[in-house]
């Protein structure tokens, strides 16, 4: 059973790697922002499988934090594409 869980985790990680190769190359900005979301969810799936496979329950806590932080990182990137225009208004340096 542990071998199967490791195999599943490795498979999910390989899918994430393939997906990354595509969206990091992808021409538009929206493609690149998807990288954080893909890594977040794929990483969470791999972590939960590893937690069950190796009997390290703390990995589930890391998955919990990753869920929040991947969403936060994506939001930060979305803001980063539109935010800078506002800071020009208050350039005081």
């Amino acid at each position: 059973m542990t071998e199967f869980l490791f195999a599943a985790a490795g498979f999910v990680l390989a899918m994430v790697a393939l997906g990354l190769a595509r969206i990091l190359r992808g021409p538009t900005i929206a493609d690149r922002i998807m990288a954080a979301q893909l890594l977040g969810t794929g990483g969470i799936a791999a972590l939960l499988l590893i937690a069950a496979a190796t009997g390290v329950p703390a990995a589930a806590d890391v998955a919990l934090s990753l869920a929040l932080l991947a969403a936060f990182a994506s939001v930060a990137f979305v803001q980063g594409t539109s935010g800078p225009d506002d800071s020009e208004a208050t350039q005081g340096r």
């Binding site: 498979f11 595509r22 992808g26 021409p27 929206a30 977040g40 969810t41 594409t81």
Partner: protein, 97 residues
Amino acid sequence: MSLALDIFSVLAISAGAFFFLAGTVGLLRFPDALTRLHALTKADNLGLGLVVLGLLPRADGALGALKLVVVWVLVLVAAGTVSQLIARVAQRVGPSP
């Protein structure tokens, strides 16, 4: 009983992995950002959901199972909303990098 649970776990996790595969194939083959986003979210929601379902019998206690479900619900809501934001960026910025 535990053999049946093991078979259930294997089936559910394999189905989840299949959805990750389908999502990645969509990510690689779809023509533009919005369709790729669609593939990404389907893979994540269904793929992660089935993986969590398959891991539930192996969770340690009610608290461990609850943690798994909370992770999935959190990812569902957060990923769904973030997809909206990414889609608006894709529409606003347009096809050029």
